[in-house]
Amino acid sequence: MPRFWRVLLISIIIVLVLYGIYFALGRPVIPLPTISYKVSPGQPLHAIITSDGADELKLTLNTSGKIEIASEKQSVVALNYTPETFGNTLDLGERLLIAQKTVQSDGDVPESSPFLRKLINWVISYYYHVIRFRLSVLLTALP
């Protein structure tokens, strides 16, 4: 067998074994490094971040189906989704957007793209069912 195919096969086997271990462990959420963002006074978010005295607000996206906003002291709001409910939200948002444009009668009604919708749904389902990540954005209020 040529060297190229052997390397490819071994790589596939390694990937499959690693995923097998990940799957057997119950597909735990893989945390990604937190992205920090400083918010200056005067920006709309500044008032919210500083309102409970913690001066921090963390937005966490857990692709296993949870989006959470929490300050340093307490959780503020959480959203639990499935690919189906996420798709329903996109449907509703799209319909409202088209309706708004129609009502405003500015002649620029956005067209829905079935390909884009399928791609978004596929990405959401992939990161919900296959590999799960946790992405956090930490907003810190500048004095």
């Binding site: 096969l9 086997i13 057997a24 919210i48 307490q74 959480a78 509703l92 088209i98």
Partner: protein, 273 residues
């Protein structure tokens, strides 16, 4: 045996093992789901009053908070009657209504389906109830657990307890007028909002609130479940200066509403915690 078949055999073995792992269903509870009870509409309202200052507190809200939301003030005649009582409790539970004054039973009335029919007939003679209204009244009153307590005290009343299994039916007429259970509220949606809702083809909406957890369905399609935290909401309250006050009674309650736009069919189902 050369190396090539060995690698292929190994690959096939790994794929087979992983395949078995993949098709393996996650462990699921096999116990049968407990049979859900018929939804009960539980409403417990505690009212404390002080004839000296002619003020009252209801459901955990102070006299000042009630004044801010436009709660009515009682006339002197009513205060005279209240000053003669220490406490009065009205309980509607199961098939009976009990009224207690100063912890002594004052009266007990039958509250079964037959007695409610008599009540509807009496009401029908004066305000002309339709069949739909009577059916809705039965939805609300069958399996109701209602307790209203009036206590002469200067202390703040106990927080409101509301747990409604029956959906509150809200209807938006074509002109935007809002009615609740068939009663006009005097509030209307703006023509722009009605036009937007119609253009988006939104026919109905089901909203369930259960102690901070919000479940929403639009045209029967379920949206992500949202959880509002009481402490977290105070952050938004402070940030935007909303002055929402003490939200404990709301966060201790559960209820749901079915909103229908235009002539669409009423929203069915319950909000079960």
């Amino acid at each position: 045996m050369n190396k090539t078949p060995t690698i292929i055999k190994l690959l096939l073995a790994v794929i087979l093992v992983l395949g078995i792992l993949m098709v393996q269903q996650p462990p699921m509870a096999t116990a049968e789901i407990a049979k859900q009870e018929v939804p009960t509409n539980l409403v417990h309202i505690d009212i404390t009053y002080d004839p000296g200052t002619k003020s009252y507190s209801m459901g955990g809200f102070s006299a000042e908070e009630l004044r801010q939301v436009g709660a009515p003030q009682f006339q002197d005649e009513i205060w005279q009657i209240l000053s003669m009582l220490d406490n009065v409790t009205l309980k509607i539970q199961g098939d009976t209504i009990n009224v207690l004054t100063n912890d002594q039973q004052l009266l007990s009335l039958a509250w079964d389906a037959a007695s409610r029919d008599i009540l509807y007939s009496l009401l029908n003679a004066t305000i002309e109830l339709g069949d739909i209204d009577m059916a809705r009244a039965e939805d609300w009153l069958d399996n109701a657990d209602i307790e209203i307590t009036l206590r002469q005290s200067k202390e703040l009343s106990q927080p409101l307890k509301i747990s409604l299994g029956t959906l509150v039916q809200v209807q938006v007429a074509k002109n935007g007028e809002l009615s609740v259970e068939g009663f006009p509220t005097g509030y209307s949606l703006t023509p722009e909002t009605v036009e937007l809702i119609n253009a988006a083809n939104i026919e109905n909406l089901k909203l369930c609130w259960n102690k901070g957890v919000i479940d929403l369905q639009v045209n029967g399609q379920t949206l992500p479940q949202a959880t509002l935290y009481q402490g977290g909401l105070s952050v938004i309250d402070k940030a935007f200066g909303l002055n929402l006050g003490d939200l404990t009674p709301i966060f201790d309650s559960s209820f749901g509403a079915g909103l229908v736009i235009g002539e669409a069919d009423p929203v069915t189902g319950e909000c079960m915690p």
